[in-house]
């Protein structure tokens, strides 16, 4: 008798749990469709910005929920062109990515990010010309004394192929040259700590990751600062793009407008290490052509 009792109890508990789970799922679904949910997927470099701005936005726009996911630039662009998500975050122009039909996508530039060459402190170099950067990353020189540093072997650390930071660095820092095959890391934080601890190491990260453990070299004697990027003097920078598939829905358009508003651009953007889109005094096209605003 007690055995069958136990069976009944277990059955009841399971049944209640299933009903509760279904109920919760149903309730969440209901909320999602009655309120507005905007999903953004893509670039991990842009993710913290969209996340933070999304939280702020949800505070003032009750019922709107901004769901931000990483996954990488490639994922973001392919998901948004399939119409699977509302926003596709990207570090590069959609035109530059293979396999993406850029005509369908509308570009919204929400921030600018500068990228600096990162060197180990003991190399003894604080400035590199574009020519020297090319020579180092294409393997033409293999020792730092060939470009004015100590007698130390050069250790190149790349970001993963296809990452936005690497694409930007190769396009503007190496003038389109490809880096030789070298070790790859998949996050900027990791790159910084490896450069800091490995003798002779060189890599590159967004300005936001520069700290005292590494040397951020100037390029052709121009220091990697937000001011120099905004003035169009410092060459290695890129836009952070948010793509929509065709013209955005009103709710999405409102959020995009919020992202480029003066309020966000002057507070959140510099706080997270990006450069405000309003500060830029130059405009760069897909083909790299720069015009003064």
């Amino acid at each position: 008798m007690s055995k069958s009792h136990r069976g009944t109890i277990v059955t009841t508990v399971v049944a209640v749990a299933v009903v509760a789970a279904l109920g919760t799922a149903y309730a969440t679904r209901e909320k999602g469709s009655s309120g507005t949910s905007i999903t953004a997927v893509g670039s991990t470099a842009l993710q913290p910005f969209v996340e933070a701005a999304g939280e702020e936005y949800a505070k003032t726009n009750l019922g709107t929920f901004i769901n931000v996911q990483g996954g990488g630039t490639g994922t973001g662009l392919s998901q948004v062109s399939q119409g699977a998500v509302d926003l596709g975050n990207s570090d590069v122009f959609a035109e530059e990515k293979d396999g993406i039909d850029a005509k369908k996508l509308v570009d919204h530039q929400v921030a600018v990010v500068g990228i600096a060459p990162l060197l180990n402190k003991n190399i003894g170099i604080t400035d590199l010309s574009i020519k020297q950067l090319q020579a180092v990353f294409t393997g033409k020189v293999t020792n730092w004394n060939q470009v004015g540093g100590k007698n130390q072997k050069i250790v190149i650390i790349n970001r993963a192929a296809g990452s936005g930071t690497r694409a930007t660095f190769e396009k503007f820092g190496l003038k389109g040259a490809q880096s030789i095959e070298a070790q790859e890391q998949d996050s900027s934080g990791m790159v910084r700590s490896i450069v800091a601890t490995t003798p002779g190491a060189i890599s590159y990260t967004a300005f936001g990751y520069i700290d005292k453990t590494v040397v951020a070299a100037s390029v052709d004697h121009i220091a990697p600062t937000n001011k120099n990027v905004a003035a169009g003097k410092y060459p290695i920078w890129s836009y952070e793009h948010i793509y929509t598939n065709g013209k955005p829905k009103p709710a999405v358009a409102k959020f995009l407008k919020y992202l480029t508003s003066e309020e966000i651009q002057s507070t959140l953007v510099p706080k997270l290490g990006y450069i405000s889109i309003h500060d830029m005094r130059v405009i760069r096209q897909v083909d790299g052509e720069i015009t003064v605003k």
């Binding site: 996954g71 994922t75 396999g99 650390i157 095959e181 070790q183 601890t197």
Partner: protein, 307 residues
């Protein structure tokens, strides 16, 4: 029809429960089968499209030594898709880790089963079981903060490379191999040991000539299982191997494995593009290899059954 006949003709409570149980098990089984088949079909269809859709030659893929799928080789008009560096990298770390781990695993399990059974069961068993459950990211972090700087100090260079990967994998697969070897040694019948001791063998002779011989198939199975885990391990290896898709020419320069290239690249490529397809092909190779490991385990099990 009277009551008794009716009762006998009807399905009893127990029969109903019996068929219910059967239905539940069958449902669970078919779900698993469907999942496995779907995974296989999906990975295969995406992985094979490199060859059928993008027109890459299998030979170029398996034997080419330059990996850079986003760049077209000006001579052959084909992208650089030589996967040999990663395939070799995976096999080298796997075999090295297994070679280093096996003697330690056998030694530990012999100690636990033959030499100090009580202490083995009380202290070592829980420790080994705990080690099996440690998440791979923990091994990776330890590798990154302890092993990589250590290797850098001794051998120079950046410290990332096959040697660091081997050491991390060795620690990771050691408990797997050990716990399976312990089970095998325990299953060697007691009368084998008794017979050996009765005709005057020392303990070491008994272990070496009887127990280990009888347990060989089981130990081999344990090693293959450890290798399967090492081959498929992604995170910990990715953190310490350096991820350079270069042909491995020594143990302390950065190299890469199938899994590390896969996890690094998949988010940066666009679904359906060649760059994405070749990654799926790498995944397909991983899947086929795990199948091979499984078949090897079965073959060992069949051949070496205790008679």
């Amino acid at each position: 029809m009277d009551k008794i006949t009716q009762k006998l003709m009807q399905k009893s409570e127990s029969t109903k429960k019996d068929s219910l149980g059967r239905a539940i098990s069958l449902a669970a089984l078919s779900l698993i089968v469907i999942v496995v088949i779907s995974i296989f079909t999906f990975v295969m269809s995406r992985g094979l499209s490199t060859f059928f859709h993008d027109g890459v030659h299998v030979k170029d893929f398996l034997l080419g030594s330059t990996w850079n799928p986003s760049v077209i080789n000006p001579q052959t008009k084909q992208p650089y898709i030589g996967a040999l560096p990663m395939i070799l990298g995976s096999f080298i770390v796997t075999f090295l880790a297994a070679i280093v781990a096996t003697p330690f695993a056998i030694g530990t399990s012999l100690f636990m089963t033959e030499i100090a059974q009580k202490r083995g069961a009380k202290i070592m068993q829980p420790i080994i079981e705990l080690l099996v459950g440690i998440p791979s990211v923990v091994y990776g972090v330890i590798g990154l903060t302890v092993i990589v700087p250590f290797i850098r100090q001794i051998f120079g260079g950046s410290g990332f490379g096959i040697l660091s990967g081997t050491i991390v994998l060795f620690v990771m697969i050691l408990p797997t191999i050990t716990s399976m070897t312990v089970d095998t040694l325990k299953s060697v019948p007691r009368h084998y040991r008794e017979s050996a001791l009765a005709i005057g063998a020392t303990r070491w002779q008994m272990i070496y000539k009887v127990v280990l011989r009888a347990a060989t198939p089981g130990i081999l199975t344990a090693i293959v299982f450890g290798m399967a885990r090492a081959f498929g391990e992604a995170l910990a290896v990715q953190m310490v191997i350096g991820n350079a898709a270069l042909m491995p020419h020594d143990l302390t320069s950065p190299a890469s494995t199938l899994t590390s290239v896969l996890t690094m690249g998949i988010g940066n490529t666009v679904m359906g593009s060649l760059q994405n397809d070749v990654l799926w092909t790498l995944a397909m190779i991983l899947l086929l290899m795990s199948l091979v490991f499984n078949l090897v385990v079965r073959a060992i099990g069949r051949k070496g059954e205790l008679k």
